[in-house]
């Protein structure tokens, strides 16, 4: 069924493009000819197809929906050893191809994106001797970093302001993400005071493939803002800021405990929604009027 939807989606997209192409071929005239037909041109120039690329960095925040842990405390509160997430502290990256249709300040934009995001959490355990005259204790800290790659298919609507070379815009949309790959790195460090002295240690990081620990798909909403700066040849430079608000779980419920290595270390992924703040720069090319003598949108 999903394949059918995808097929339908592709068909509609192709139909849209061909529609634009056919209208373009019917009306292909020199820019000078357009200038002579002002009224018709005004209407025509209110529409434009753009193609472009952009890339940049992103920061990730995860929202815990349900906690899961392999370590089940029997005589202390689970919150003492609970995971502590570090949000927006690890830099990821993304690369986007953008196809958009401009019409009367509104832009409908499809932005297939390859997104590499990172987030981390830590948890801590402590064992203390209860024996008299015995100060033995061991503290362990687990630092866990997740790196997950998704292909995102966002569909956005943008509204542009102004008519100068610099055109800011607001945008809103939805996206579907498809998991590509993931790894998880676990570093254990601690303080051992059980051998007659204090010994601080840090074990080598264990990195394991964790693709199956993440859900195959997740989706969410996007909101953001940005600005275009139009160069003389109608090419636009783009600064884009997006906040992706995850609406579904990024963890695989089925495979939460399937990785024997991670389960052995004592780690299980929580149910998480992932938010992502992405900042990108790029450029856009109009599909018509690439000649430098014609101003596509800011000709006034």
């Amino acid at each position: 069924m999903k394949k059918l939807y995808l097929l339908l989606f592709c068909f509609l997209l192709a139909a849209n493009v061909s529609l634009a192409q056919s209208s373009k071929s019917k009306k292909r005239k020199s820019p000078a000819a357009y200038n002579k037909q002002n009224k018709e041109n005004e209407r025509f120039l209110e529409k434009q197809w753009w193609l472009g690329v952009k890339g940049g960095m992103n920061l990730t925040k995860v929202n815990v929906v349900t906690n899961f842990s392999i370590i089940a405390p029997t005589n202390y509160d689970a919150s003492e050893s609970g995971k502590k997430y570090k949000n927006f502290n690890l830099v990821g990256s993304q690369f986007t191809m953008e196809a958009m249709f401009y019409f009367k300040r509104f832009t409908f934009s499809l932005q297939p994106t390859y997104q590499h995001s990172r987030f981390a959490y830590s948890n801590q355990y402590k064992w203390i001797s209860t024996a008299e005259n015995n100060a033995n204790s061991v503290e362990l800290k687990y630092n866990q970093e997740q790196k997950v790659d998704h292909v995102l298919i966002p569909l956005l609507v943008k509204y542009e302001f102004g008519s100068n070379k610099l055109r800011p815009y607001l945008q809103i949309g939805i996206f579907q993400a498809i998991r590509v790959s993931a790894t998880k790195a676990v570093t254990v460090s601690g303080i051992d005071q059980a051998s007659g002295g204090k010994n601080e240690f840090s074990d080598e990081t264990v990195t394991v493939g964790a693709k199956d620990l993440f859900a195959k798909n997740y989706w969410g909403f996007i909101a953001g803002a940005g600005a275009y700066y139009t160069l003389g040849n109608n090419v636009r430079l783009n600064l884009d800021v997006q906040y992706k608000y995850g609406m579904s779980n990024i963890s695989s419920t089925k495979n939460r405990y399937s990785n024997d290595r991670l389960a052995g270390i004592g780690d299980a992924m929580d149910d998480l929604n992932m938010d992502n703040l992405a900042i990108s720069v790029g450029c856009l090319f109009p599909l018509r009027f690439l000649e430098s003598g014609f101003k596509s949108l800011d000709r006034k």
């Binding site: 139909a15 029997t74 209860t130 033995n136 362990l140 997740y218 579904s248 052995g264």
Partner: protein, 407 residues
């Protein structure tokens, strides 16, 4: 034109929204598969599971030993309850007046039973007790078993318990049948051999100061019982009807250095077994033993599969299960890599199917295995958190995971 564009875009947006998908909540998956490690933040506490059962509501109850270094010479009895998702629910520390919990933990008419004994150190005792409690770990009580001392292994067959115990004073391995009320209905003792040498390894087993022996006892069929324990200076598999003064048959080991490490009757003469011999381990998923045997465990027909990957004289657990409509045998044992090794065999002919290893980083040791009501497998063991703190762990494998190991 304008209408066409708008209608196309609306259709695209609708189509797009239709393909939006994500991971749905799956509580069933959380129940089918989990790993739990039950941690206590006491530096000097250690836990060792003996047996586990699953109750009607899917919860897990673990019978274990608890030892607190500096305060406990011999491990005490510890009970733990986890829910069907592996979350900790409740624990019960029995105290230091009772020691040596013996599996199987058995459910009879909504009550759970196991055998234990009065503490040798704290109460200067040796008498066995039949302990019972309910599935909420409430109503714990014990029943005195007149004349029975040093319980070593137990099972439940034919609506009664079968118990292997030791009479150290008379140097006897004693097999008894006992009702749920604690009445000893039949009992017979067989010599472990005269002299101090014969009782030393047995006492060390109970004091947990040396090798822990894989004592076992059960009913084969037609009134024929077996016990895996000491007989005539040797760790042996002994068949008896609990009436005759002499055993019906014996498969002798080699002193305390060789014998069966696990035994499960599949029919009157067919067994799934494992044996140890001077540190070596052998798995015998399809072996024939007659109750009137007079043999030794090193005979050619008990050769079995040698597994150098296992630690010397490993603890072995055997579970009969069904997966993919096949009767299978699952062997669980401790590997040299400090993981729990699971070995899957076809029960019909003993052919090897596959293996799986549980645990990583911290050491893991097998405690027991049970087939769960959802067709999966639960493995209870000990893991050493931070490489040193012995804690109870449960691996719950789903039905699909078990099936993936069956060819």
């Amino acid at each position: 034109m304008l209408q066409k564009i708008f209608s196309s875009l609306i259709i695209v947006a609708v189509a797009f929204s239709l393909i939006m998908c994500g991971e749905a909540d799956n509580p069933q998956a959380e129940m089918n598969q989990f790993v739990s490690v039950f941690d206590n933040n006491q530096f000097n506490a250690g836990f060792n599971p003996i047996d586990m059962v699953q109750t009607d509501d899917g919860s897990y109850i673990v019978l274990a030993e608890e030892k607190v270094t500096d305060t406990t010479e011999i491990p005490n009895i510890y009970l733990l309850k986890a829910d069907k998702y592996g979350n900790f629910v409740k624990e019960l520390e029995i105290g230091d007046s009772l020691i040596n919990p013996v599996g199987h933990l058995t459910v009879v008419e909504n009550k759970l039973y196991f055998f234990c004994m009065v503490s040798v150190v704290k109460a200067n005792g040796k008498d066995a007790r039949l302990a019972s409690f309910d599935s909420n770990l409430d109503g714990f009580k014990t029943t005195n078993l007149n004349g029975i001392t040093y319980p070593a292994a137990a099972s439940y067959a034919g609506n009664q318990f079968v118990l292997l115990s030791y009479n150290i004073d008379d140097k006897l391995s004693v097999i008894s049948t006992i009702s749920a009320a604690g009445a000893v209905t039949k009992s017979k003792g067989y010599t472990v051999g005269e002299g101090d040498d014969s009782e030393e390894p047995i006492l060390n087993h109970f004091l947990r100061t040396d090798k822990i022996f894989p004592f076992d006892v059960g009913l084969v069929a037609g009134g024929v019982y077996y016990f895996n324990g000491f007989y005539n200076y040797t760790f042996s598999l002994v068949f008896t009807n609990i009436s005759d003064d002499e055993p019906m048959g014996i498969v002798a080991g080699y002193n305390d250095k060789g014998g069966f490490s696990a035994i499960t009757p599949l029919s009157a003469s067919k067994y799934a077994a494992a044996r140890f011999n001077f540190g070596n381990n052998y798995l015998l998923p399809n072996t024939t033993i007659t109750a009137t045997s007079n043999a030794t465990s090193t005979d050619a027909n008990f050769k079995g599969y040698s597994l150098p990957e296992l630690i010397p004289d490993t603890k072995v657990k055997i579970l009969r299960a069904t997966a993919k409509e096949k009767n299978i045998l699952i062997y669980g044992a401790d590997t040299q890599t400090r993981q729990i090794g699971l070995y899957f065999y076809n029960e019909a002919d003993g052919t090897f199917m596959s293996s799986r290893y549980l645990g990583f980083s911290n050491p893991y040791q097998i405690g027991c295995m049970i087939a769960t009501e959802d067709g999966g497998l639960a493995v209870c063991g000990t893991t050493y958190l931070a490489g040193r703190f012995p804690r109870i762990c449960i691996f719950k494998l789903s039905k699909e995971e078990v099936a993936s190991n069956v060819k």
